[in-house]
């Protein structure tokens, strides 16, 4: 029987020729990742277990990105725990201060996660790396502690759902809209425990940035992982970055899927996910008059250079509406520097925006732009749960970077077509 790409990666990492959905396996991990919120618990458990060293100092990666630059004393203590642990165990990849970026933007950019890898991270958006053709999934801190010691993780082999995107992408519609549309269709538990394999003619020409954005939000449909079949676009992205071998795998023609879902993207317009679930999607033209207080452009979903460029293209020569606050957060130091060199900072500043150093910041209501009671934001992030960006009575609307930028100018939710 044929296997999907997900099953092949899991088989290779568990020393078997084949696996099938439902199998419980013990798999070796290529990378184990933690951040300033999840790693402290893992480090505690690591120490308590009496373990002396990590399984491989090149393969345990720590990125303090959520509450840094440290937002308060307690956050500073958590970041320090990572720093001390990284120092003690001589971790090769610890990203602090000027090297720090939002983990899921940073790792692909640095070539640290690669096609064919099995990656676990104590962060739910670890699934981002499926964009590269890796099996990547979020786990908890205890799983991270165990993997730091053993280099292994227990996993249940997921069933796969195949998504096929046909047609031609309309203007202003990008990876973010495709995944929001998909989540709107199948729901926040539409792919629970399953693998989402994203394929089709539209995907074949989708940029790596678009693929990473789509894989990033697989968890918002409850999926274990989102995955793309690596191709020339993948090769062009990874070949200049990779510092170790990688493997392109593909799904067999007779691989088994629990469902196949096809979309014609030709009639999809830019999507808005309304409060308080990512599945509450609407086309931007159906949204009505919703005034906003803040726009956030950044995060592991849409904080890459392509996203900065899309936003800047809309903002160039325009001004943010009075009473609306625009916060732009390039996701990594490289994105930050590139945006600066390309003159995008000037565009954002001329428009009346603020630039933040790379951080998760407001995405999870940490700092750098928290919402007050009753305030509304449009964000290029991935979650619009109750209280996600601040006060429990604030609201977050999710959108792509061009729509977010257009909304900042309009002072209400709207797409680029509504700009004069």
């Amino acid at each position: 029987m044929g296997m999907t790409i997900t099953e092949k990666i899991l088989a290779r990492h568990s020393g078997s020729d084949s696996v099938k959905p439902g199998d419980l396996i013990n798999a070796t991990v290529d990378i184990a990742l933690g951040n300033d919120i999840t790693a402290p618990i893992a480090i505690d458990q690591f120490e308590k277990s009496g373990a002396k060293e990590v399984f491989d100092k090149d393969r345990v990666i720590l990125v303090p990105d959520h509450f840094v630059p440290n937002k308060d004393i307690q956050s500073a203590m958590q970041a320090k725990m990572l720093r001390d642990f990284a120092g003690k165990h001589d971790l090769t990849h610890f990203f602090d201060a000027g090297e720090m970026g939002v983990e899921h933007a940073l790792l692909p950019e640095k070539g640290l996660v690669l096609p064919g890898d099995l990656v676990i991270g104590a962060d739910s958006h670890t699934c981002t790396y499926g964009g590269l053709g890796a099996f990547a999934t979020g786990v908890g801190s205890t799983d991270l502690a165990a993997a730091m010691i053993t280099g292994e993780v227990w996993l249940k082999v997921p069933e796969s759902i195949k998504f096929i995107y046909n047609g031609r992408l309309p203007q202003w519609v990008e990876g973010k809209d495709l995944i929001l549309y998909t989540i709107g269709d199948i729901g926040v538990d539409g792919a629970l425990y399953q693998a989402m394999e994203l394929t089709g003619p539209v995907i074949d020409t989708l940029s790596m940035a678009g693929r990473l954005t789509m894989a990033n939000m697989a968890i918002e449909a409850g999926a274990k992982n989102g995955i793309f079949i690596p191709d020339d676009i993948t090769e062009a992205y990874v070949s200049t970055r990779a510092q170790r071998e990688y493997t392109f795998l593909t799904s067999d023609d007779d691989a088994v899927y629990v469902r196949t879902i096809e979309y014609d993207v030709g009639n999809i317009e830019p999507q808005i996910a309304c409060p308080h679930l990512p599945e509450n999607t609407k086309g931007v033209s159906e949204i009505g008059d919703i005034t906003i207080d803040q726009v956030v452009i950044g995060s592991c979903t849409n904080g890459r250079i392509e996203d900065m460029r899309s936003a800047a293209a809309i903002l160039k020569g325009r001004k943010v509406a009075k009473g609306t606050r625009l916060i732009v957060i390039p996701a990594t130091p490289l994105v930050y520097r590139t945006a600066l060199e390309e003159g995008l900072f000037e565009v954002f500043l001329d428009a009346g925006g603020i630039l933040s150093p790379p951080t998760c910041g407001p995405c999870l209501g940490g700092h750098m732009g928290i919402l007050a009671k009753g305030e509304r934001a449009v964000a290029t992030t991935n979650r619009n749960f109750v209280g996600r960006m601040g006060h429990p009575e604030s609201e977050v609307y999710l959108a792509n970077p061009s729509v977010a930028a257009a909304s900042a100018i309009l002072g209400k939710i709207g797409g680029p077509d509504q700009l004069g």
């Binding site: 618990i41 308590k48 958590q78 801190s141 205890t142 629970l192 425990y193 274990k224 999870l364």
Partner: protein
Amino acid sequence: MKITGKVWKFGDDVDTDLIIPARYLNTSDPAELAKHCMEDADPTFASNVSASDIIVGGKNFGCGSSREHAPIAIKEAGVSCVIAKGFARIFYRNSFNMGLPILECPDTDLFKTGARLSVDFDTGEIILLDDDSTYSTRPIPPFMQELVSSGGLMKHIEKRMK
């Protein structure tokens, strides 16, 4: 093992930001986290919950973030178990990894806030004590039972290290 407890009922898709808002994640101290458990869903929960109470949810309980702070907050608040129609996958594995009992039961619509349940973890049987009706839950896979009986994932690993 059998427990008896009072129900706190929540709806579908209870996310980890409702269970423990990210604004409190600058600590991993269980007692601190427990103080804010379920705060954005029901601000009275943390102060009124008593030991052995049971959280009941609908579908997709614990969706969202990977934060283990969520099951930690629930456990430390004194909650004896969570019963839902289904669980989001990271919450599911976190709960087993740390020894918070969770049970999947399709009939949670029938369990209202304040109702009293008796739960038998060995058989997976739930009794609604108000009318003595009984409900069954999905059996826990053997591997997960093994994790629970070793006392969680770390204990399991420690055994292996020896």
